[in-house]
Amino acid sequence: MWKRIARVNALVIKEFIHLRSDWWLPAFMLIGGAMELLLIGWATSRPITNLPMLVLDQDRSPQSRKLIIALENTETFNLDTQVEDMQTIHDRLERGQINAALIIPPDFDQQLTAADGQAALQLLLNGAESMAATNALRATEGLVRELGLGITLKRLGMEADDLSGFDPSLRVWFNEKLSEALYTTPAELGLMLEFTILLFAALTFSREKELGTLESLLVTPFSSLEIIIGKSIPVILVSFADFLILLAMVHFAFEVPIRGSLPLLLLLTLIYMLAVLGIGLVISIISSNQHQAFLLVMIVGFVDLMFTGYAAPVESMPAFLQLVAQVVPSHHWMAILRGIALKGADLSALWPNVLALVILGLVIGTVSLRFVRRALE
């Protein structure tokens, strides 16, 4: 037994020497990850403003001017130019220079002031940038609804105070300021952790195959299990340290809270890491060189990413994909991370995800261990 531990220890030391001489790779994963997090965090921590917009005011009345000023005041739009013809709007939309265009018809003022008038506005949106378009639509709709309410009151001959209608009181839980950063940075953190483990694990065997040293390692008294353990320990240690640093960054720089139990989060993260490690080792053993391993990591990583809810909520995916998401460890781990960090959830709320993660960890761990052992023997 001591001999086994001494052997594994020698392998761990050797792997760390490799990591030290290839220091740029862990450094890249850490610094690159940190920069990515900062960028995503900052870019998404502010509300959307300054969308370039053009207005074609065919009415040129006090009413239309009032509307334009109100639009400017929302700060969603950047309205520095007015144009005279549709052609300019058409061209600019096509070139992507503007996200939205508002066309005010010639009879806007007339329709607005007439007792039975039907005022109309035309809003053109650049649907190719759906996020900007959605925000532009939301801002315009809000403004027009307010305007419409004002007109209704005026036509009824009432003051705003005379009408106490339905006043919704909104309260957002878990992310009071509705900061996008609270949503995006944990997702980015998950992405970084996944890629770090996958990449380091994928390089373990593929590097030795490429250099031709794996064969020499296999004729030594190392058992396949000892080789796997010895090669996994550095991967887990480095990735876990990486995760802790990035988690601290997300917490302090973007005020992502950790409302639940940190030890529970770390424990479940370790289980998640073992599952990803298993996938990475399988990639490593089936690749004959580091390039192949790297490309496979990219494919697996980005497919996994789809199920973390980063790009689109899993709940809105087709039923089949929702089913697939259930067997993707990162899907459950992201739910746990968000649950513990943002909602302060504990096991009583998270148990379905925890159970799924543990089962997936066990299954993927066992299957990949067997697969890699057989490949080594």
Binding site: A6, N9, A10, K14, I17, T213, E215, V219, P221
Partner: protein
């Protein structure tokens, strides 16, 4: 184990890859303490045979026993007792000399004291004293080969398998490397070495020629020369080697000279023929007619290269 005991027995060893037979029913025995040379051109099945003996590759048929262990069934049982130096450089380039040796030693379970002793021995043996902390990638080819051998014998194995250990190494380093092999052999370590260098083959105690997966000759270098050489070798020292070879070959093609082979041997020309001494006149006449001047002509002992080329030629015919 008594001296001269058999350490490796291969019987009918065969490996097929799809429809290609890489090793075809190979039989051989290796005795303890001998340098066994496995000789053959590239792609003849040398590496495949070694990999089967190490338990890295499952044979299609046949059996191989190393140190009394059935390698096909229990490949793990011999690992502590053998050393292996693969065709590609088997050490880690980014580790230092010492780090590489320590890793090898630990892999074989050497304790601290034993490891330090063996380390000192191997460093001295490979002439790397004072360079223990040099990165392996910074060593010249010859040193790296000796270090790789050192790493393979650190745990004092009973057999060392060397797969083309001197490929791409300069002649002086090759000589130094073979000196090390002699030393090991003198200590009763069995050495199984593959090579395609004929001069190295002369250094082996026992040889097996493998070609297209089959052993076409085996025995001591002397036996092989005696058995396989169907002629004598005339060494000609010409002034213009090209002229000499062309003149003799065209005479051979016209049927005027009953010689088997005319080959360029460095700046010399070797003519292989049965009873070559009876054709000296004809050879001289041919060369004079072609106006090729000759400084010297002697009948010599055939080298293994002569034998190998002659036997390969017979195979082709």
């Amino acid at each position: 184990m008594p001296a001269n005991a058999t350490t490796i027995i291969a019987q009918g060893l065969t490996k097929q890859f799809d429809s290609f037979t890489a090793v075809d029913g190979v039989d051989f025995k290796v005795r303890r303490g001998e340098i066994f040379g496995f000789l053959g051109p590239n792609g003849s099945g040398k590496t495949t045979t070694i990999r089967m003996m190490l338990g890295l590759l499952q044979p299609t048929a046949g059996s191989v026993e190393v140190l009394g262990v059935n390698v096909i069934k229990d490949p793990g049982d011999i690992r502590q007792r053998i050393g292996y130096m693969s065709q590609r450089f088997s050490l880690y380039n980014d580790l230092t000399v010492r780090q590489n040796l320590v890793f090898s030693g630990r892999a074989y379970g050497l304790g601290n004291q034993e490891l330090e002793e063996r380390l000192r021995f191997v460093v001295r043996l490979s002439g790397l004293e004072g360079r223990e902390n040099a990165r392996t990638r910074d060593l010249a080819g010859g040193w790296r080969q000796r270090l790789a051998l050192g790493a393979a014998i650190l745990h004092q194995p009973e057999i060392v398998f060397l797969d083309e250990p001197t490929a791409g190494v300069d002649p002086l380093s090759r000589r130094a490397f073979w000196e090390l092999l002699y030393q090991l052999s003198a200590q009763q370590v069995t050495i199984f070495v593959t090579t395609h260098y004929m001069d190295e083959a002369e250094h082996c105690h026992h040889l097996a020629f493998i070609q297209r997966g089959k052993i076409i000759a085996h025995g001591s270098p002397e036996q092989i020369k005696a058995e396989m050489m169907s002629g004598d070798v005339l060494e000609i020292e010409p002034q213009d080697a090209t002229c000499t070879v062309e003149a003799l070959r065209s005479a051979q093609a016209r049927g005027e000279l009953p010689v088997l082979e005319v080959t360029l041997y460095g700046s010399l020309v070797h003519v292989i023929a049965p009873q070559v001494d009876q054709h000296l006149g004809a050879i001289n006449a041919t060369l004079t007619a072609a106006d090729c001047r000759v400084a010297n002509m002697t009948i010599i002992e055939p080298s293994l290269e002569d034998v190998f080329i002659a036997s390969m030629r017979e195979e082709q015919i």
